[in-house]
Amino acid sequence: MCLAIPMQVDSVDGFEARCSAKGIERTVSLFMLQKEAVAPGDHVLVHVGYAIQKITPAEAQSTWELLDEALAQEALVAQA
């Protein structure tokens, strides 16, 4: 339940942002990052619909690779 997923910010409207990752789009609250400048193109860690921290593009990429690996592993076990 504590896992946060990296997403890229597509647009910002007040405390809300449209974010995407792997073709999935979500509205994400920036309420907990309102003191930071968040702009389209930035990457954020998202947990239960709230951005909790800004991260770099490289960090987002490496986290996604990890999640892909974990999902693939889980699918493999499920088939076995």
Partner: protein
């Protein structure tokens, strides 16, 4: 495995430990990464990894879920909860629903949400009907619930607060006199919100090695290496192996929201009991949104096994890191993800569910590893 993970593994294999060590993690996300990547099987045999109290769904008070079910049955509310909560079994009498899912099947208005924002949207869409949000979770998940209230929630939205703080349960384990571990891997996303400093007491008060870890094999192996090195050197310090997300002080604004919305009080942990300073209560200015104040208690003091784990289930010992999931006699036999008996087999963050998902079916695999 990445080059960096390989590097940490080689470094770990080069260490000479004075005796075998046990390292506790307190995060379902960590346990998931460890189990799925098969980290236990590649580590030197004198390093044992123990999954501890890292599943907020598993330790959510049974009474709170029972209460939520009764609100949905008798108070005409829409009950919303994170999806993992719906299948958690409670010890209700026969002929009564024994989970939120069963209550929904019996006609109650119960819905899974993935965000506090969805709870707000549901409440706005039906202004005449109360919505109760069963808000379980550790700090990472409690902060968004606080943010939701701080931002302003509709009058018909009520919170059944079940959030828990993680460091106090570790403090209780360390003070118990029966400490079953030598080092701690601290939870990365809790520290993202709260800052790594919360875990300094492990080092200062208990002279125990500690490192905050992220969720990649790299970061976890780096943290395992760090605490093993600290153990060998006899000089524990709090390391941060997840600097990408964990900054000094954490997310200060999120912490301020938690403080503005919640008071700290003792919290009940299923199968464990009351843990000082581990729970939240709504502060007076937010009590208009307190589901417990708005709706009369349905608690039944005479209810059998109230607060306990289901009969025969060893989830309480699993949560405390006293036994491994597959040492429970129900694991893989009576208790499987399809027919879960205990909460640790229900939640994606429960150690039993994670071990099952990583291919453990039965047998004392971990014990062999530990005693080898």
């Amino acid at each position: 495995m990445s080059g960096s993970a390989q590097h940490w593994l080689e470094a770990l294999r080069g260490l000479t430990l004075p005796r075998p060590i046990k390292i506790l993690n307190v995060c379902g996300g960590h346990e998931r990464s460890i189990a799925l990547a098969g980290v236990r099987s590649i580590l030197p045999r004198n390093i044992e990894l123990i999954p501890g109290p890292g599943c907020p769904v598993c330790i959510c008070p049974e009474e709170d879920i029972y209460e939520a079910i009764q609100m949905a049955r008798f108070d005409g509310v829409t009950l919303v909860a994170y999806g993992d909560m719906l299948r958690v079994p409670v010890n209700a009498p026969r002929r009564e629903p024994r989970s939120l899912e069963q209550a929904r099947a019996a006609g109650c208005d119960i819905r899974a949400v993935a965000s506090p924002k969805e709870a707000v949207a549901i409440a706005r869409a039906q202004p005449g009907k109360p919505v109760v949000f069963l808000a379980a979770g550790f700090e990472t998940t409690s902060a968004p619930a606080a943010a939701m209230l701080a931002e302003g929630a509709p009058d018909n939205l009520f919170v059944l607060l079940s959030g828990r703080r993680t460091w106090p349960i570790v403090a209780q384990l360390l003070a118990s006199g029966d400490v079953g571990f030598d080092a701690l891997v601290a939870p990365g996303h809790v520290a993202t919100i709260m800052g790594p400093e919360e875990w300094q007491f492990v080092v200062d008060k208990h002279q125990m090695p500690a490192a905050v870890a992220g969720f990649s094999t790299d970061s976890l192996l780096a943290a395992i290496y760090s605490v093993a090195r600290q153990f060998i050197a006899g000089r524990p310090f709090l390391d941060n192996c997840y600097t990408m997300a964990v900054k000094p002080g954490g997310n200060a604004l999120a912490r301020a929201m938690i403080e503005r919305v919640f008071d700290i009080e003792a919290g009940n942990w299923r199968g464990i009991g009351m843990v000082p300073d581990s729970g939240y209560a709504l502060r007076p200015e937010f009590q208009a949104h307190d589901a417990r104040r708005r709706f009369p208690a349905h608690g039944d003091a005479a209810r059998k096994r109230a607060g306990e784990m289901p009969p025969g289930c060893d989830c309480a010992k699993v949560v405390l890191g006293r036994i491994y999931p597959n040492e429970c006699r129900l694991f893989g036999a009576a208790c499987t993800p399809r027919h879960p008996i205990g909460p640790c087999m229900v939640s994606d963050e429960g150690a039993c569910r994670i071990w099952w998902a990583s291919g453990v079916r039965e047998g004392p695999l971990a014990r062999q590893h530990a005693s080898a």
